[in-house]
Symmetry: C2
Subunit: 445 residues, 2 copies
């Protein structure tokens, strides 16, 4: 392999061979190609673009850079879900329990919060003693016994992705759809799943601000999934307003428990059921999404989904008592109320998800740097959402935090209030789920 020739070819817009891409990724992962050559390659690809063939080769090389799980000896069609990230996005938690309770095995490998978005791992770990790390044999055996397992990415899955991601972050090569898609899909495909449902978000609180970019990302990931024989469906969803009322870690788990109990905010329930229906169809437990959604509602109403969640918490060492009685969790009282300011009334017209996400990070619910710890009980409860009628002095939102740092709480509260817009009319309420994509194309199901 001549690295300079590979970089030059990509620079000049030529299509690289599978062998070239694989040699480059392997040599970079092993340290034989230095960062500066990979950086030049990443920028050359960013600017020249990549063909589908090249993206498949890149994903394959990254996927095979570490352990590739094989779950084919376990019964059932294994289905996972991935979200491109948003604010208040706790969907994975009720979703995994519901889909698993419908008989579809769910092996879920999730990430931590980064930037303004939360992460499923941080949320699960707000359940006292819940462990998200597990070795591969334990992971397989929990999946076989319980039908659901939720852990973090291990170091031996797709190490090339980890190394390339860190380099992209410091070389202005993050926002490139082929790299984003290859990064997500290489990790997901290494899990040994049979099918995948993607929640691809766009809007103020998403990484993709433009709907068109989110559509392209969804198309790229569905194409990659199909190229590896993994059936992939994507829902295109709006992320302008935080999902649900809770933003944080423990507050989001508590809201997930509400959903499993048959309650919860309507947007969270709707998105959970829509994603669950896709997973249940892919898992072969229903003929269409209508039937699948009926099944999903059934396991919520019967309590089977809640029991599955409690079993998951128990299997992973978590405190089932606080799951049954969320108000018993230590240190989770609201510490401050945010009220509608003087002279303001009418309707909440918008809540800027990005601003809420950043305020929750500032409060301690998220990370400024990878190595930061998160405050499990820090977060917000949004008592009013766009369309709500509000009056001067009314409580808009609650601030939660374990820290008694008054300054922190006051400034996060001010930031949270600034995220609200008010008006005399309720404003439009555009649909949350905008479109649906599978291998046959776009079509709202």
């Amino acid at each position: 392999m001549n690295v300079v020739n590979i970089i030059r070819s990509k620079r000049d817009g030529q299509e690289l061979s599978d062998a070239d891409i694989d040699a480059l990724v392997s040599a970079y992962t092993s340290g034989d190609v230095p960062d500066y050559q990979m950086a030049a390659f990443l920028m050359a690809a960013f600017k020249s673009g990549m063909t589908t063939h090249e993206m498949v080769a890149l994903t394959r090389s990254m996927l095979h850079s570490g352990v590739v799980l094989d779950l084919s000896d376990l019964p059932g069609i294994k289905v996972d879900k991935h979200s491109t990230g948003g604010v208040g996005d706790k969907i994975s938690i009720p979703l995994a329990a519901i889909v698993s309770a419908c008989g579809v095995p769910v092996p879920m490998i999730s990430g931590r919060g980064l930037g303004h978005t939360g992460g499923t791992l941080d949320k699960l770990e707000s359940i006292p003693r819940f462990s998200t790390s597990m070795d591969i044999p334990a992971y397989r055996s929990q999946l076989a016994d319980l039908g659901v397992v939720m852990i973090g990415q291990t170091d031996d899955i797709a190490p090339a992705d980890k190394k390339i991601y860190a380099l992209r972050d410091v070389t202005a090569t993050v926002e490139f759809i082929p790299f984003i898609a290859a990064s997500i899909m290489s990790k997901k495909l290494a899990e040994g799943i049979d099918a995948l449902v993607l929640d691809v978000k766009f809007g103020a609180g998403a990484f993709m601000k433009q709907e068109q970019d989110a559509r392209r990302l969804a198309e790229t990931m569905v194409r990659l999934g199909e190229a590896f024989g993994t059936k992939t469906v994507a829902l295109l969803t709006r992320m302008d307003t935080p999902l649900g009322a809770a933003v944080g870690n423990w507050v989001e788990v508590a809201e997930s428990i509400d959903v499993l109990g048959g309650g919860g905010p309507p947007d969270v329930l709707a998105l959970t059921l829509a994603l669950a229906a896709e997973m249940i169809v892919l898992g072969g437990k229903a003929a269409d999404v209508r039937e699948a959604e009926h099944l999903a509602r059934g396991v919520v109403e019967s309590g089977a989904a809640m029991r599955r969640f409690e079993a998951l918490v128990r299997a992973q060492g978590g405190d089932v008592d606080v799951v049954r009685h969320p108000d018993r969790r230590p240190g989770s009282a609201a510490v401050s109320e945010i009220r509608v300011p003087e002279g303001v009334g009418g309707y909440v017209t918008a809540i800027d998800a990005m601003a809420v996400g950043l305020a929750s990070v500032a409060l301690g619910a998220g990370r400024r740097r990878k190595e930061d710890a998160v405050d499990p009980v820090a977060g917000f409860t949004l008592l009013k959402k766009p369309g709500s009628v509000v009056q001067e002095g009314e409580v808009l939102a609650l601030v939660h935090a374990s820290l008694s740092s008054g300054e922190h709480v006051a400034s996060a509260g001010a930031d949270l209030l600034a995220a609200f817009s008010f008006g005399e009319a309720p404003g439009e309420a555009p649909p949350l789920i905008v479109d649906r994509l599978d291998a046959t194309g776009w079509k709202r199901s």
Copy 2:
């Protein structure tokens, strides 16, 4: 400075500010910006392009990354010449002596051979004991006393260029006109010259294969020179065939001595006089190139140019005796004759300069790697040039080498022969000097 933002701006085709470019170059030179970020920047600029304003800023930052000589206290208009590199290009040697003998101070800082091309320093060092390294005070005082000095680039001139060039070489970002121009001009402008003549070559044996690219490079360098108040003239010249008969180090010095003695091959003489005339006009010693060329011919005929060259050799420690009697140089006998093959006759129609350059490197006259030593006497004498009538068995060329390695010599000889094309008609002889550019535009003078 936020390096990622600078890379992102360039990636997205925005024009960078002078402050951003200067901060980036300074931080890279000092080691505060790592190679991988500079590599991403270089590729982003390569793909997005650079405006004239950005190129000026880049050149300024590189020029000021080290020592900037100030020769303004020395009398006269100091003029240097730079060639973009070719095969058999020994022009600097007779040129510096002729121009200096006409009263124009010539402070010349040259490079070593790289790739298939030779370097003036390697050629000068083939004169026994000739030294091309000197500290700045000695350089200034020789220029003041003698009117000519020829040394190599010191570590303290434009260190940013040295570091960036090494990175470009391994990241496929060499062939980009703004970088090539900034690299050449930053070094030349740091020399403290008042005016500059450029020999910009195109063709099989040049770095720019296409005339159009060489024109763009010339335009860019003239624009940069003018932006820094340094009058700059470029000649656009053809480099398909090696210049002159000699290709190597000592053989080229010997040919330069022939030119200074009033002889030498017609192409070498013509290009030397054309470049000399431009330098003499810029140096204020003639009103136009016609008058200047007359002056240049005069110092050759009078022997003043030869005496100036001998004085230069003496001042820099070289052996004046071998300059006066080139055949006395030890170890410089021809070791092999290359003959016209059986069944071949007619005319030489072409000699591929790139092939001759590579054969001379293989023989030891050039470097495969920067750290290689060169064989001072290795080289070729081309006894026949395009247009020459040849007969079967006639001697076409001589091979010189100090090594007695028969294999080396035989394979270089075979490669040299393969560089010749023969035909039944003499073929076309396109002009060597194609065009001329100054701040007012292109026009063959």
